[in-house]
Symmetry: C2
Subunit: 111 residues, 2 copies
DNA sequence: TATACACTCAACCAAATGGTTGAATGAAAG
DNA sequence: CTTTCATTCAACCATTTGGTTGAGTGTATA
């Protein structure tokens, strides 16, 4: 399984840093959507949505499939896994923090 | 425990989308560093590092403490936990994918 | 007290981002 | 074959980003 290089992470995290794009991901997590179906709930022009999809595609977060005059967009969770893998390095830190906090609270209750 | 709103996630993911900033986070994960210590291994001006730190601070990924003429920067892993919490929604998707792949491979081996 | 050190601020710059409009392309339906 | 629907492209625009330089502000130290 190939690990993401720094440039991949740049594109993945950049793609996730926009609320419209995160909203699109939630939408297609439920299943394939055409581009017009994706655009419908968003108050943006078609062209704007098209650009957002390109950003998501560049980060390999989505895939496309042609179906007649439609394009069906689907989630590609592999790329998200790369973001998760990067974050996992830091999990120990927030876990330590929480444990330290827990200790502190317990010490307060029975000193 | 307060959950991150959309605007928080914008700032967190944006902060993570830059290799210099991710490198700074790795550095201070090992312990507090002064700003000059952070700057040393990076081939950038002091002012540039100062700006990156401001981006990380805005995302609440780091904290500052004054120590004489130094400023000590430390990791604040809570914010990262918010990114992780957002991603966790998608974990089921990549897990499903991997299981489907595993199934496929196993079926190949013993058809 | 003068001088070095550790930064921050302001001004500037080029490139990228996120949006728009309007024209262009390509498939499907009348 | 014309029209309509689904989408992209090109041009444009304002704002943000990531960097620079050079001056300014504290805090130590000789």
């Amino acid at each position: 399984m190939a690990t993401a290089d720094s440039y991949d992470l740049d594109r993945i995290f950049h793609a996730l840093a926009d609320p419209t794009r995160r909203s699109i991901l939630r939408q297609i997590a439920e299943g394939e959507h055409s581009i017009s179906a994706i655009a419908r709930p968003h108050d943006l022009t078609f062209a704007a949505i098209s650009k957002h999809l390109k950003v998501l595609e560049r980060a390999r977060l989505i895939g496309r499939r042609k179906d007649g005059s439609f394009q069906m967009i689907s989630l590609n969770p592999e790329a998200l896994k790369n973001a998760d893998r990067w974050l996992s390095y830091y999990q120990k830190f927030w876990n330590l923090r929480l444990e330290a906090l827990k200790d502190l609270l317990e010490r307060k209750e029975r000193p």
